[in-house]
């Protein structure tokens, strides 16, 4: 009898111990809120919904995940929301460059240091595009043309004092060319305006322009990266992403990549971060994700931990410098 009891207690003990280890590994305790600090249909939104879809299809999450768009004030709304949910590990946010640019340009009080870094998923490339009916075949030809008639060429981009305008300002600073920068609401509109010849060039992300590139409406001149994109599959009849020269090759030494990373609320514990890192690793391993990254021509760079933190810190400094040089910083009151 006593032996039986012993066995029973032993059993209970092991069960307890087992459940203890299970409890140590954090799991979402309720619905995971996935904040997109941008509108529906944009690049960050598409990525968040792809993640949500992949996670649901492959049963990677025990709790449901909802994607909500909090785009107010160039994304400030979303960032402030997450900043104010201190310690809430059930909330994550996907970032664009507005993680850096919005607080610098508007003075809204938040910075990347407020959040718990989880992982860098991908980096988004920027490409210099012109309308295919124009004669410019290289970045150099185009920049020379802009230089020869200052204040005549229009560069279209998403938003004001955000990544597109920062790149434009960097081009101006380096070459002495002068553009009229025209801000639009979203990358899709910018691309359409280029096809309609209402603007002369854009620095659209690959995903925003690829459809019209395939259709022969726009022409890529160079990519703002230190190396060419890795995708060698033909997109048009005779070109792949890899065939686009870097801007550096064309004498325009500018590098800019946009962070597509995940952060969580402030003061989130390491075990929760580990959980998400594991989740995103699983998401990135699916064929659906591979397909998606190839379509969007992302630069595949999964990064976590201190390496990721260091990258973000460097990027924050870079944005501060670029924006200071361009005079985009909010005036201190």
């Amino acid at each position: 009898m006593s032996l039986k009891i012993k066995a029973l207690t032993l059993g209970v003990g092991t069960a307890l111990a087992l459940s203890m280890t299970a409890a140590n590994a954090w799991e979402p305790t309720r619905t995971v809120t996935f904040v997109v600090p941008a509108g529906t249909g944009g690049g960050a939104d598409q990525m968040a919904r792809e993640i949500q879809g992949v996670a649901a299809k492959h049963n990677l999450l025990k709790q449901p995940m909802v994607v909500i768009n909090e785009s107010g004030g160039a994304g400030a709304q979303g960032f402030l929301d997450v900043k104010n949910s201190k310690g809430d590990a059930n909330k994550i946010i996907i970032t664009l460059s507005n993680l850096f640019t919005t607080p610098l340009a508007t003075g809204v009080p938040f910075s990347w240091q407020d959040f718990t870094p989880v992982a860098m998923l991908e980096l988004d490339e920027f490409v210099l595009w012109v309308n295919a009916d124009t004669p410019y075949k290289t970045a150099k030809e185009y920049i020379d043309a802009v230089k020869s008639s200052p204040g005549k060429f229009k560069m279209g981009g998403t938003g004001s004092k955000q990544e597109d305008q920062i790149i434009t300002a960097a081009i101006e600073q380096q070459t002495g060319a002068k553009f009229i920068y025209v801000p639009y609401k979203g990358g899709g509109t910018v691309n359409e305006q280029l096809v309609g010849k209402h603007i002369d060039s854009t620095v659209n992300n690959p995903i925003e322009a690829v459809a019209n590139w395939r259709a022969g409406k726009v022409r890529p001149l160079c990519v703002f990266d230190s190396e060419r994109m890795s995708y060698t599959a033909k997109i048009t009849k005779d070109m792949s992403w890899h065939d686009i020269p870097t801007c550096k090759e064309s004498g325009l030494d500018i590098e800019y990549l946009m962070l597509r990373g995940i952060f969580s609320s402030p003061d989130v514990k390491q075990d929760a971060v580990d959980y998400y890192v594991d989740l995103f690793k699983k998401v990135e391993a699916t064929p659906d994700w591979k397909d998606f990254t190839e379509k969007a021509a992302f630069k595949q760079t999964f990064m976590t931990g201190d390496k990721f933190k260091q990258w973000v810190a460097d990027a924050a400094k870079l944005h501060h410098d670029l924006m200071e040089k361009a005079g985009f910083l909010a005036k201190k009151k």
Binding site: T106, S160, K295
Partner: protein
Amino acid sequence: MDSFMSLMQGFSVVLVPGNFLYMLVGILLGVLIGVLPGLGAANGIAILLPLTFGMHPTSAIIMLSCIYWGALFGGAIASILFNIPGEPWSVATTFDGFPLAQKGRAGEALTASFTSSFIGALVAVILITFLAPIIASFALQFGPAEFFSVQLLTFCSFVGMGKESPFKTIASMMIGFALAAVGLDNVTGQLRMTFGFNELLNGFDFLVAVIGLFGIGEILLTMEEGLSFKGASARINPLVVLHTWKVLPRYWLTSLRGAAIGCWLGITPGGATPASFMSYGLAKRFSKNGDKFGTGELEGVVAPETAAHAAGTSALLPMLTLGIPGSPTAAVLLGGLLIWGLQPGPLLFVEQKDFVWGTIAAMYVGNVVGLAVVLTTVPLWASILRIPFSIIAPVIVAICAVGAFTVNNAMIDLFFMLGFGIIGYVFKKLNYPLAPFVLALVLGDKAESSFRQAMLGSGGSLSIFWSNWLVGGITALSMIMLFWPLISKVIGMVRRKGAHPVAAE
């Protein structure tokens, strides 16, 4: 003929039992989304998008586009019954729809609205079927100057025709413009009029404002006037649909005009909301019964609904042919294409024939099914008004609150909604018109952006608004609309004077 054959093939894709089921589910969900204010078709579709992940792309777009049709139909329901626009494009429907319901003619208003929606969609989809490639490139002609001229035309076709004093109209519109300017300025990237409050970052969302102004404002008025619906005495007649159909052909010209405006604004991403306002404005101006608009004219329901649905439908055309979203909903669907593994853009028509023509065929079938679904529910909806006010009012307030919250997921919007409710009540009491206020709020910041983008491009010269036949034509049309009362007087005088010389000749 080529398009016709492709369309037939499209039908064969759509009319398999599985896809038909998805269609029905989509329509029902869509109507629900349309009825609930704030949720919106774009959000509704975005929420359901990940669910379609494993589906065949054609089935997925059939279901999601049917949600869109459903929402276009359903948006009118709450507008007519409770003066709460379920969707931005149903605001203009409240102007005559709600007075009709108050007179006990909710059934007629609903039938007219659904039928006009259907006709608008039909015209648009026929246009898509046969003229897609030709029309699509028209969208590319639109730069900032052209957008501004369209927005100007919307304002001009709406201004200066109310019964209220012009000063009240201007005051109301200016408050709308001021509120529209709050938040982030897209052109400079600076915050405006937030006075250091981070809660004001989002500015005042148009939907939150209309939910408050119309929905909450109306509840306040009703409470004052004796806690009951005026439409409660309405007899519910199951044959109301047939009776209304007998009257509707009279408004063929308004329908046609609405459909034309809708198709035009849908293709040139102007959107369904400006289309509905413009169509209502023009109908009021050119109809024989124009004076009675706003008091419960069926024609005042026909005009905005035809235009809104035509615009909503034709907004999918630039998406399919060029990969340009003509509306927020189309933008979400475009993202969907990518997730389903399709490449949106100009080559979609060539590479994915089945998908494209399946989608177009689904537009026909989806709208027919949608019409059937909503028409059969007309008596049901109308009978909601017979529920005692004390029960339905809290439900409405709750729905309004949920709607206002959903727009931006921001708590502060609930307080804004209540604030707007009080403004709406005060406006009504002081006899200030709400329409110019709402119009300025919905189009104010868009018009401002387009104007400033155009000015950036032209180096500050206004001549850009006359720089080509397209923008010049629209600007000229706006001016004619603005000064129409004057012009019609002059024409009248010239005619009277002119009658003599002509007779002499």
